[in-house]
């Protein structure tokens, strides 16, 4: 009997931990989103279930799980149910290379950044399948929007990440974080402000968050690609959306905001705190702005973000070469 | 000032009467024969009137169809009126001149079962397609003669032999 490789056990444990983390964070984020939305709109938000509505997301989760799973007529059953699974599963992998703390990494990979970028691309496929498989016209429109949007926004995202990679000379997230100091002025954000802004805007586009939530624009497409999903089918998309938000924010924190480094006490709490600050900003943006139109969204990408990101990359390359 | 009296250059109305705006909200009543309606509408569009609405009143003599025209920049309301019989309620459409008339005409068809000849899309608008047309039609008993209802005001132009109230028909229906 051959021995079970230690690495495999480690990854399995990490995956379970990540799944728990994603689930927990999803609940917290749902609560946070609704609470922040409420307060921005000068109302209390969820209030009835548990103290200050703390158990509301749990109740919602139970409700979603308890609902009937419904496959629409003439839908492609296989693709239809593959889509939510496909949207959720890769997200777990994305968490593996994230450096939560100096020692707290699921899988310390040299190409961690590449893994994240590669697997986050899979999400598009899920959206596409969901729209196609559900045999719904709104779904197809939503999926078509989502695909062109994600494809477009991946480029500036990559380019801005590449700028950091050039600068630090590594694709290992832990190394990138370790290269930054404890104080805010030692973080990459100070050196690469443009890359950070481009990354953040592209991240909004990539995760389909307002004002770029065109794939599910409810006033136009009712619910876009997940129009036909009920119960946990919808729940999976929902969870995947929040998990994706956490991933992009974590990457932003690791690349630009010093990761676990922070004044006085380095550690995972700094990482989490920064991630949640970014998430709050995302939520804040969502509840403030109207949605952009589709051609404007692409214009913004191709005419502004792309050239700027390229320019930024060029300058970074120059400066790195010179120094 | 004959042209002014007639109000319209392109067609000869059957009768033009003047009303008090304060009393009825109308400046002029223009009686037309059904065939002249589109020509008159064309002229009204040229004179920068817009179509407010089209409505029909079911009276003993037939249907009195009223086209209300008004102006954007001054208080003026002209009513084009046309009488059609119950037996053959057909009026040519003006939806190719005033596109807004499209829905008004369809509504009229729903409510009074009036046919607008030449209308491209005369399908039920407000009513369910299965509902029979003419929900606002009155019964023979509840119909009133036109002269009991509307005072058209002082006539300024009349084609010979025209009266807005077709007396003969009204007398037939009301044996007294």
């Amino acid at each position: 009997m051959s021995q079970i490789p230690v690495e495999l056990v480690k990854i399995l444990i990490a995956l379970v931990a990540v799944a728990a983390f994603v689930g927990l964070n999803g609940l917290v984020l749902v609560y946070l989103e609704r609470k922040v939305a409420g307060h921005i709109q000068r109302r209390p938000g969820p209030f009835e279930v548990g103290p200050h509505g703390l158990l509301q997301p749990l109740a919602d989760a139970v409700k979603l799980i308890g609902k009937q799973l419904f496959t629409p007529k003439n839908a492609d059953g296989f693709l239809f149910w593959l889509a939510p699974i496909l949207s959720f599963m890769p997200v777990l992998l994305l968490f593996l290379p994230l450096p939560f703390g100096p020692k707290l990494t699921g899988m310390n990979l040299n190409l961690g950044l590449l893994l994240i970028l590669a697997f986050s691309g899979l999400n598009v496929l899920a959206t596409c399948l969901a729209g196609w498989g559900s045999n719904n016209k709104y779904g197809i429109l939503g999926a078509a929007r989502a695909v062109s949007q994600s494809v477009a926004y991946e480029i500036p995202l990559l380019l801005s990440v590449l700028a950091i990679a050039f600068q630090t000379g590594s694709l290992n997230l832990s190394e990138v974080v370790a290269g930054q100091g404890s104080w805010p002025w030692q973080w990459n954000f100070m050196v690469q402000p443009l890359a950070f802004i481009i990354f953040f805007v592209s991240a909004l586009g990539e995760t389909n968050r307002a004002p770029f939530d065109l794939a599910e624009a409810e006033s136009e497409l009712t619910a876009g690609f997940h129009t036909e999903y009920s119960g946990m089918g919808f729940g999976m998309f929902f969870l995947a959306e929040y998990a994706n938000m956490i991933v992009v924010c974590s990457v932003a924190v690791a690349l630009f905001l010093g990761g676990w480094n922070g004044p006085f006490f380095d550690g995972a709490w700094w990482f989490l705190a920064k991630v949640y600050v970014l998430l709050l900003v995302m939520i804040w943006l969502r509840w403030t702005f109207p949605r952009v139109r589709f051609d404007q969204l692409l214009n913004l990408n191709w005419k502004w973000l792309m050239p700027l990101a390229l320019l930024n990359l060029l300058i970074t390359a120059f400066v790195t070469k010179l120094s | 000032m004959a042209a002014n009296k007639k109000l319209l250059d392109s067609v000869t109305p059957l009768m033009v009467s003047k009303c008090s705006f304060d009393k009825t909200g109308l400046n002029f009543n223009v009686f037309l024969s059904p065939d002249d309606i589109p020509t008159a509408a064309k002229e009204m569009l040229r004179k920068e009137y817009y179509l407010e609405d089209i409505d029909a009143v079911d009276v003993v003599e037939g249907f009195l169809i009223t086209y209300h025209y008004a102006r954007f920049e001054s208080a003026e309301r002209v009513a084009h009126r046309v009488m059609v019989t119950h037996a053959e309620p057909v009026v040519p459409t003006i939806s190719d001149i005033y596109q807004g008339a499209d829905w008004h005409e369809r509504e009229c068809t729903d409510f009074h079962a009036i046919k607008f000849s030449g209308h491209p899309n005369l399908i039920p608008l407000l009513l369910d397609p299965d509902t029979p047309q003419g929900v606002l039609l009155k019964t023979d008993k509840s119909r009133k003669p036109l002269r009991d209802l509307i005072d058209f005001g002082e006539s300024v132009f009349t084609t010979d032999g025209f009266t807005p109230f077709d007396e003969a028909q009204a007398d037939l229906k009301e044996p007294k």
Partner: protein, 195 residues
Amino acid sequence: MTAIKKIWDNVSGLWSLVVGLKITGKAFMDKQVTLHYPRETVSDSQLEGFRGPLELVGKPKVPASPKCIACMMCVSACPSGCISITKAKAPKPTEAELQAMKEAEERGEKVVKPKAPKEPTKFMYDFSLCSLCGSCVENCAVGAIRFSDNVYFASTDRNAFKMDLLYRLEVKGQRQEQAKAESAPQEPEKSTKEG
């Protein structure tokens, strides 16, 4: 020139986004404007002018019996036909009265038949039909109906909206008397004076 203007437009556009964020951020910090319904309720002063389901007004001295004279004005005024009133019938004359009437007739005098009392025996009101327009209240000659201030009236049963207003008035009157009776012992002097 146009290029500069274009760039300026874009910058001011971006600034407008920041202004928007500032406003929502301020609202986030501001206090909330909603009421936490089950724990807080709308104050009575804010309920002024509120129209709940109709109720009958009792006579000032006998709160359990209605002011209504069954003139049917409200019934004819109501656009939706939600009120139905049954008038009281003339009481059946007793034997003695019948006798008296007969005698009067024989004597050639004017017969005095007992008149129907001017009051309703039944006052039914269908709240589910009512459009709360107030025509009945306005047209009532004696001010016998008014809108109640029952804000929290809700029911899942359709029949709960068909109300017997006479019965409700009676119950209300009884309750008032009860309340009076209960409050009476607290003021013994007053009650003895009344007694």
